[in-house]
Amino acid sequence: MLRFALFRALSLGLSLVAASLVVFFALEIVPGDPAAAMLGVNAQEDTLAALRAELGLDRGPVARYFDWAGGLLRGDFGISYTYRTPVAQMIADRLWVSLPLALYALALTLLIAFPAGLAAAARRGKGTDLTIMGVTQLGIAVPNFWFAMLLVLAFSITLRWFSAGGFPGWEAGVGPAMKALTLPAIALALPQASILTRVLRSALIETLGQDYIRTARARGLTRRQVLWRHALRNALIPVLTIIGLQFSFLLAGAIIIENVFYLPGLGRLIFQSIGQRDIIVVESVVMLLVFAVILVTFLVDLAYAAVDPRLRRPR
């Protein structure tokens, strides 16, 4: 167990180091000078040099990599070139939007997908199944930003039930904050829920074909009991994989939706920072997202073991 955990931790660490090298040196060659971006068209050469020195940009990339990577280890993400505030602070602020949004969307996804997937699997080939499969087929195909536009048109501009975007901040209260995240969460959740519904359904149907289902039926369990007691838990493995991927996607991939709803999240921070050539922010956010993905993958591995005793330590 210990050896496995150590091995896992080591490989996780190596992945992160590799990722940090990729991120840093890929973005190192980004054309554009943050100092020039800040000072604009009338800046004079000496002013630019002064600013570059102030930002530490006059040093070599290797030195800067070690500064940055060393800082990451200490939890110090450096100082933003353009905002001149600690990057950690900026990321923390944005994370308070992106993370709740991802969780909200994930909750919606699960709330939709589980009943729908179970209903479809239970009534395989019947009208319910066909309807759910048809709707999910559309749900997967609809581009989420387009769906978001339609939501804004319907619920913000026309009905005025929700504000069209923006985020009042958690200090405005949980209610208003959640309300502001509702439309984006729906826009994110619909395609994800469609995917998860289909995955759950096919996993359930596959599981329902297993021998132990037959054994359970021979014990006198009804179809419904078999579905709930036996099929669902066994179908969770592929479903967990997808949920893990979806969470990573929701956290990192909400960039477009954050733009549509002008939410101050991590995705928009990346775009904005690239525009301003605030590369240190871009690097740190990308690293954080990559770390999140790797961590989620690891957690999903652990969740497998919780679901499937075969993956647990033998007694």
Binding site: N42, G166, R268, I274, D278
Partner: protein, 497 residues
């Protein structure tokens, strides 16, 4: 202050504001939410060029010795009055009495000296350091009097001192100005939720006329659709520079809103690399000029908002000369000129477009118009940072579209190193003459001569003067109509019902 405390304080303030709002449900509103496309990187106007900084702090939070009035004229601000020496090189400013910074400290001549010295010092990171280049010396005469000596007469010095980059800061707080700006204006900084908004509140001890608003929120919405939705949904009260002109008609049709269309100092031009063949040939540049249908660009890209121009000069300026006829739309003539220049089969060049929609949309239209006369363009959309790097500094471009928003900036044509690389000694000496000339009529003549030279040299393709097209709740008054500088001056703004 840690951000948690900031947030807490902000929360409390918001709560208080909310209660106040509830109590005064039928009373006048005293808060405003101003929409802006870009978020400022930080809030120190003296160390960055970003227009967004001035759009938040200019006249609201920071003030200079002089200021721009809504009509573009120069008015006294912190300086109550001034004297100019006979030879035009010594300016003596008399400061208002009782001006305090938001931290309670008093403004005196020492602060003015500090601010100006800081801006022109060796390690200054002031983006408009040129404004201060002529200053030879700043002396404190007494706490309310400061004397500035120039190395030569400068007709535009008062104008320079009105820029946002020339605002007065106190030595103790100057370094913290990026995140905790302390100025002398009618509003003080309260909170910044990065990525979303900046909040200012009324400064009760303001020296000047008290303002009507208690609270101003600048909300950053970069996406045009979101901007439209936010206005429509009432999340934002005014969008002084509305990013999508196509939506203005809808706002106009809606009695809840008022569309405010004014002019800006932004000459929008098809900037041409005068050193890069074939644009080093005046005939090619002339062909380019005749190939462009300005009105189609204005209609297509700006939905009709914008004034066509024939030279690099603001049409609302008294010295403006209408030279549009010089470069009238005439594709046949353009083709003929190209053939004369040896490009009968046309040629291919690059067209680099920065983010604003005037550039992106205008670029597509111009590309189509150039294609009509045989010029193929490879369009590249670039971010501002890349534009600065590649186009402005690297001069690696054939064509680009950009709006030059600095007021009275025809002088850039006298700089042969400027990115479009126009090098005309006649024009350069004309500018030297203008600089030394104080007589208004003589200045007008010189300016008109300058306009004619660059128009007839077809330095760039002159497209239109960028309109300042804003939207506001119909009940708001006192917003600037024109934009002599980049600012959202809220000092005169009030709700009417």
């Amino acid at each position: 202050m840690s951000s948690d405390r900031t947030r807490l304080a902000g929360g409390t303030a918001l709560l208080v504001a909310g209660l106040a709002l509830a109590q005064a449900a039928f009373a006048q509103r005293t808060d405003i939410v101003v929409g802006m496309g870009l978020e400022p990187p930080h809030l120190d106007p003296t160390t960055a060029a970003a227009a967004a900084i001035d759009e938040v702090v200019y006249a609201n939070l920071f003030e200079g010795l002089t200021r721009f009035a809504p009509d573009g004229s120069i008015q006294p601000a912190l300086a109550e009055s001034w004297d100019i020496s006979e030879d035009g090189t010594v300016y003596t400013f008399r400061l208002h009495e009782g001006v305090t910074f938001h931290d309670g400290s008093t403004l005196d001549a020492q602060d003015v000296k500090f601010s100006l010295d800081r801006a022109r010092s060796e390690d200054s990171t002031n983006a408009q350091k040129g404004l201060f280049a002529g200053i030879e010396d700043v002396t404190v005469v007494d706490p309310l009097t400061v004397q500035i000596t120039l190395d030569q007469p400068d007709g535009g010095f008062l104008f320079s001192m009105a820029w946002g980059d020339a605002v007065i800061v106190a030595e103790e707080t100057a370094d913290a100005a990026k995140t905790a700006p302390v100025g002398t204006g009618p509003f003080r900084f309260e909170n910044w939720v990065q990525g979303d908004r900046i909040e200012l509140v009324k400064y009760p001890d303001y020296w000047g006329d008290p303002v009507a608003l208690d609270r101003a929120v600048f909300k950053f919405i970069s996406d045009s659709t979101a901007a439209f939705a936010a206005m429509m949904a009432g999340d934002v009260d005014t969008f002084p520079i509305f990013p999508a002109p196509e939506n203005l008609a809808q706002f106009e049709a809606d009695p809840r809103f008022r569309v405010i269309v004014g002019s800006t100092e932004g000459e929008t031009i098809l900037s041409t690399n005068n050193k890069q063949p074939p644009f080093d040939d005046p005939k090619v540049r002339q062909a380019l000029a005749h190939a462009i249908d300005r009105q189609a660009v204005i209609d297509g890209a700006m939905f009709g908002y914008g004034t066509p121009i024939g030279t690099h000069f603001a049409p609302h300026h008294p010295a403006y000369l209408d030279l549009k006829a010089t470069s009238a739309h005439d594709p046949d003539k353009a083709r003929a000129l190209l053939a004369e220049a040896g490009y009968a089969d046309g040629f291919t060049t690059t067209l680099k477009l920065p983010p604003p929609s005037y550039a992106r949309r205008g670029g597509e239209i111009i590309a189509a118009q150039l294609r009509e006369v045989g010029i193929e363009t490879e369009i590249t959309n670039v971010e501002w940072a890349q534009w600065l790097e590649q186009v402005f500094r690297g001069k690696d471009f054939g064509l680009t579209i950009v709006s030059h928003t600095e007021p009275m900036d025809i002088g850039i044509y006298a700089n042969p190193d400027y990115y479009f690389q126009y090098d005309n000694p006649d024009f350069q000496s004309l500018m030297d003459a203008l600089r030394a000339e104080a007589d208004p009529e003589a200045r007008t003549a010189l300016l008109q001569q300058a306009q004619t030279i660059i128009a007839e040299d077809f330095v760039n393709g002159y497209l239109f003067q960028l309109a300042k097209s804003g939207v506001a709740d119909a009940r708001i008054e006192g917003l600037w109509e024109n934009a002599p500088t980049q600012a959202n001056d809220l000092t005169g703004v009030r709700w009417t019902e």
